[in-house]
């Protein structure tokens, strides 16, 4: 009897709780139409653009800061807009002119642009401060500025309240590409200066938690581990965004992100595994957007150590990669088989230069020539927590085994994997390489030049170094194309890395979300998104 009354008590308590939840859901449904809810896999790391090395932070920064430039767009023919990296439009910078000397550029600031929080106009002083901070913090933005041939703050001058002048050290083919990056955007200088501390002259601690941009959105609230709420900037120069609220809801379990999307609790679910995307395909109310990209999965070798110090071994493995099987088996036919060191969609790619196809016999023959007729064994390091890399690694392992190559897959925590890359500790590694700057010279400077910061192969070829240096200072399209051809030939011959697959970018969303624009860095731009009426 006592048990029974306890049950009743519990049941009525549960009912009361359920009713309360129901009431609160109804209340929040009213403004749901203009609220975009996105399920993300983890917390946003930092709001300070120069210190962001993470895709989630980069995405928020892209949306709360107004970058110097942005790319133009073109219709993909598949219901979304694609970026056209051949055209550049002004954003925080409205117009510009390059003098005949090819190194002096005048930049005119966007008229009427204001900071989202204070409503104050964006002035030349804010831009100058941004440059000062880039050099002062010694951060990734400094790298961007110097790579764009703007070596120091002395190269930047304020002409008037709404005009600045940049003097490049040499013609700068990558200036626009680099200054559309999420980190290249003015911030409200007066507010940043007001928040410096004795041990923090660039207010880095404060700016990690606070945004002072002039972008499409600003951060309204941030509950670490729970959610970040963005509000549309009412005074954005191009007009306020359609969605007045964007909620980034942290949902660590990818199965839950998929479930919430399927149930319509969120509008977009990010970071789903290929398996989950495949499960969601064709479900009512859900749409999987699939865009081909310049994001390659790269298998890299430590060319300073055996067996990969032998170029023949690296060449042999080119023939043991199951290019088409990866596209079909893992990406369900989306994406493209890689054709060498420039992504197939790259402006200067020449896929015809890449002769290798999946040919196990040829791989065996080349291995025998290299002195490995009995096969060889090596360890491939990958970062844990990324099912796509893991699945590709497994397909590679199977295919390599047929050629007598025994590959052991070793999964490492993010920090350990990154350290191994930086200190050349991996025998072989695999990760994605996103061509957000569609120029082989830029990628060469970053990855392939002797001693480059991300030369995780220990690779060096003086001929290629020369080609990359020339690419870095060439504006002439015909000469660029010629240099790009050389670049591809040299890298194909040396094979310090093998591009395994050009991956698609796939995003799961509700089918009433429209206006998607595919950015070259796979960041989600909230501004153009709309809800179909």
């Amino acid at each position: 009897m006592q048990m029974l009354s306890k049950c009743r008590l519990l049941a009525s308590a549960a009912l009361a709780a359920g009713l309360a939840v129901g009431a609160s859901l109804a209340a929040s449904a009213q403004d749901a139409a203009k609220t975009l809810t996105i399920a993300i896999s983890g917390d946003v790391e930092t709001l300070d653009p120069p210190f962001s090395r993470f895709q989630r932070s980069n995405e928020v920064n892209y949306n709360v800061y107004d970058q110097f430039f942005r790319y133009g767009t073109k219709d993909s023919g598949k219901g979304y807009l694609d970026t056209d990296v051949g055209t550049v439009e002004g954003s925080a910078i409205e117009s510009w002119s390059l003098a005949d000397d090819n190194v002096t550029m005048t930049l005119n600031l966007r008229k009427g642009a204001t900071f989202a929080r204070s409503g104050k106009p964006v002035t030349a002083d804010d831009f100058i401060y941004w440059f000062e901070r880039a050099y002062g913090t010694k951060s990734g933005t400094e790298w961007n500025a110097t790579t764009a041939n703007i070596p120091s703050i002395d190269s930047v001058k304020k002409l008037s309240d709404n005009q600045i002048e940049i003097t490049f050290a040499a013609p700068s083919p990558w200036f626009f590409y680099l200054f559309r990056d999420q980190s290249q955007a003015p911030m409200e200088a007066a507010v940043a200066r007001a928040n410096v501390a004795a041990d923090d002259e660039w207010a880095a601690k404060w700016l990690a938690k606070n945004d002072i941009g002039s972008g499409e959105y600003f951060v309204e609230s941030w509950t670490p581990g729970v959610e970040m709420v963005l509000k549309a900037n009412p005074t954005y120069w191009a007009g306020p965004a359609y969605f007045d609220t964007v909620v980034l809801k942290i949902v660590p379990s990818s199965a839950n992100r998929a479930l919430l999307l399927q149930r319509g609790e969120v509008d977009i679910a990010k970071d789903l595994s290929v398996d989950e995307l495949n499960l969601l395909r064709g479900m009512p109310g859900v749409e999987i957007l699939s865009a081909p990209t310049r994001n390659q999965m790269i298998l890299g070798f430590n060319v300073k150590e055996k067996p990969f110090d032998n170029p023949k071994v690296r060449e042999a493995l080119n023939y043991a990669v199951p290019y088409q099987a990866i596209v079909d088996g893992i990406f369900k036919g989306n994406g493209l088989p890689s054709k060498g060191p420039i992504p197939v969609l790259g402006q200067l790619a020449d896929p015809a230069l890449f002769a290798a196809t999946t040919d196990i016999d040829k791989a065996k023959a080349l291995l025998a020539e290299a002195g490995f007729a009995d096969g060889l064994a090596f360890t491939l390091d990958i970062q844990e927590g990324d099912p796509t890399v893991e699945q590709i690694a497994i397909l590679l392992k199977d295919s390599f085994a047929k050629a007598g190559v025994d590959m052991t897959i070793s999964k490492q925590p993010a920090a350990v994997f990154a350290e191994g890359l930086g200190t050349l500790k991996h025998q072989a590694w695999m990760r994605d390489l996103l061509w957000y700057v569609d120029d082989p010279g830029y990628t060469g400077k970053l990855f392939f030049q002797t001693g480059a910061v991300a030369n995780w192969m220990g690779y060096s070829n003086p001929d290629l170094d020369k080609v990359i240096d020339e690419l870095a200072a060439t504006l002439d399209p015909a000469k660029k194309a010629e240099l790009a051809k050389k670049y591809q030939q040299l890298l194909i011959a040396d094979s310090p890395v093998i591009a395994v697959v050009d991956m698609p970018f796939e995003l799961a969303m509700r089918d009433d979300i429209a206006g998607y624009v595919q950015l070259p860095d796979n960041l989600l731009w909230y501004y153009p998104l709309k809800r179909k009426e």
């Binding site: 549960a14 009361a16 709780a17 359920g18 009713l19 309360a20 939840v21 009431a23 609160s24 859901l25 209340a27 929040s28 983890g42 917390d43 790391e45 930092t46 090395r53 010694k138 951060s139 990734g140 400094e142 790298w143 961007n144 790579t147 880095a204 601690k205 990690a208 938690k209 609230s221 509950t223 670490p224 581990g225 729970v226 959610e227 909620v247 809801k249 942290i250 949902v251 660590p252 379990s253 199965a255 839950n256 479930l259 919430l260 149930r263 609790e265 844990e384 927590g385 925590p413 993010a414 920090a415 350990v416 990154a418 350290e419 890359l421 930086g422 200190t423 970053l446 910061v453 991300a454």
Partner: protein
């Protein structure tokens, strides 16, 4: 008076001594292990860096100092109440723990209460009639609980109560967004809601707690149930209960004597379960998007972000040791034999 206090002082001094030594050992091991696994240097500088950036970051992280010196520096700041900052988010670890620890504590406590409310009465009932139908039923439930991973049960519950029946809210944290502005006093949303007199918020917090608490209670209570049951059986067969029965003492008196003797092992088991819940909720936190310390520690570990990892381990250890101490003190109050310093 003084004589009666003496054993207590010795007992407490010994226990607190053990607590401090344990904390030191745990901190040394955690520090050594997190440092041995890797460092966040290259993750922090990203792929685009200059030599100067690398050197600055090495200095900031203290990687130019020997490990023992870094440990001593850490302990020194610890003694000044400074748990450091996360290298990835720049958040103060103390602030992070202040918001996240109550989340885990609230969930663990509800799960523990739920588990105890079931396991102790059920254990006693099963122990009194070991061959009865209830004992068999309790045994079945306990077996299911032991063999089922809590996160898997959590997923099942989500599919049933959220996805299929729609009775409970989406597994999205601790409270509905409509109540996000709830003033934080204790960090326990159920208590804060009641303090604010907001019944709707209370209902929402409770509804969010229901499934993860049930999943945890179901999978962690079997050990308490078995201990209670075993101890009850043992006591009911013991000579002093038999004698009490022979003397014709009332049933109530017999149970009072029996309960007193059960107290020690059962409270110890409950304290251990509490400690386990606190550090073992990680997977359930992932499944229910519960912003607690488990998720926090896992994220930090992935990035070799030492300070948050150290913070979580130390706070959990300290809490566990305090709960364990409390259980010991309670046992010692009930049973003087437990007070004897060996």
């Amino acid at each position: 008076m003084l004589r009666s206090l003496l054993p207590w002082t010795a007992f407490l001094a010994r226990r607190i001594g053990v607590l401090i030594v344990s904390l030191v050992i745990v901190s040394v091991i955690t520090f050594a292990v997190t440092n041995a696994i890797g460092n966040p240097l290259y993750l922090l500088v990203g792929p685009r860096y200059t030599e100067e950036m690398l050197e600055t970051t090495i200095r900031e992280l203290g990687l130019d100092l020997p490990l023992w010196q870094r440990y001593l520096d850490y302990v020194w700041s610890l003694l000044h109440g400074d748990l450091g900052v996360s290298r990835i988010t720049y958040n103060s670890v103390l602030d992070d723990l202040r918001t996240r620890f109550p989340a885990t504590l609230e969930l663990s406590t509800y799960a523990l209460l739920l588990g105890v409310l079931w396991a102790v009465p059920a254990g006693i009932a099963a122990g009194i009639r070991p061959r009865g139908w209830f004992a068999r039923f309790a045994d079945l439930v306990a077996r299911a609980g032991v063999s089922m991973p809590s996160f898997w049960l959590g997923l099942l519950l989500i599919y049933l109560f959220f996805a299929t029946l729609g009775w409970l809210p989406a597994p999205l944290g601790r409270i509905d967004r409509a109540h996000a502005g709830l003033p934080v006093v204790t960090g326990w949303y159920t208590i804060d809601a009641l303090l604010a007199g907001n019944l709707a918020a209370f209902g929402s917090a409770l509804a969010h707690l229901a499934l993860p608490a049930v999943a945890l209670a179901f999978t962690t209570s079997p050990s308490t149930l078995q201990i209670t049951r075993g101890r009850t059986e043992e006591i009911m067969l013991s000579e002093y209960i038999r004698s009490a029965r022979a003397f014709g003492l009332s049933q109530a008196t017999i149970y009072r004597y029996a309960l007193k003797n059960m107290f020690g092992p059962v409270t110890t088991m409950i304290a251990m379960t509490y400690g386990y819940l606190l550090s073992g909720t990680v997977l359930v936190e992932v499944v229910f998007t519960w912003p607690g310390i488990g998720l926090y520690a896992v994220d930090a570990m992935k990035n070799s972000d030492y300070e948050p990892v150290m913070g979580v381990v130390l706070v959990c250890t300290a809490f566990y040791l305090v709960v364990y101490l409390a259980a010991d003190v309670l046992s010692a109050i009930v049973d003087p034999r437990a007070r004897v310093v060996a």
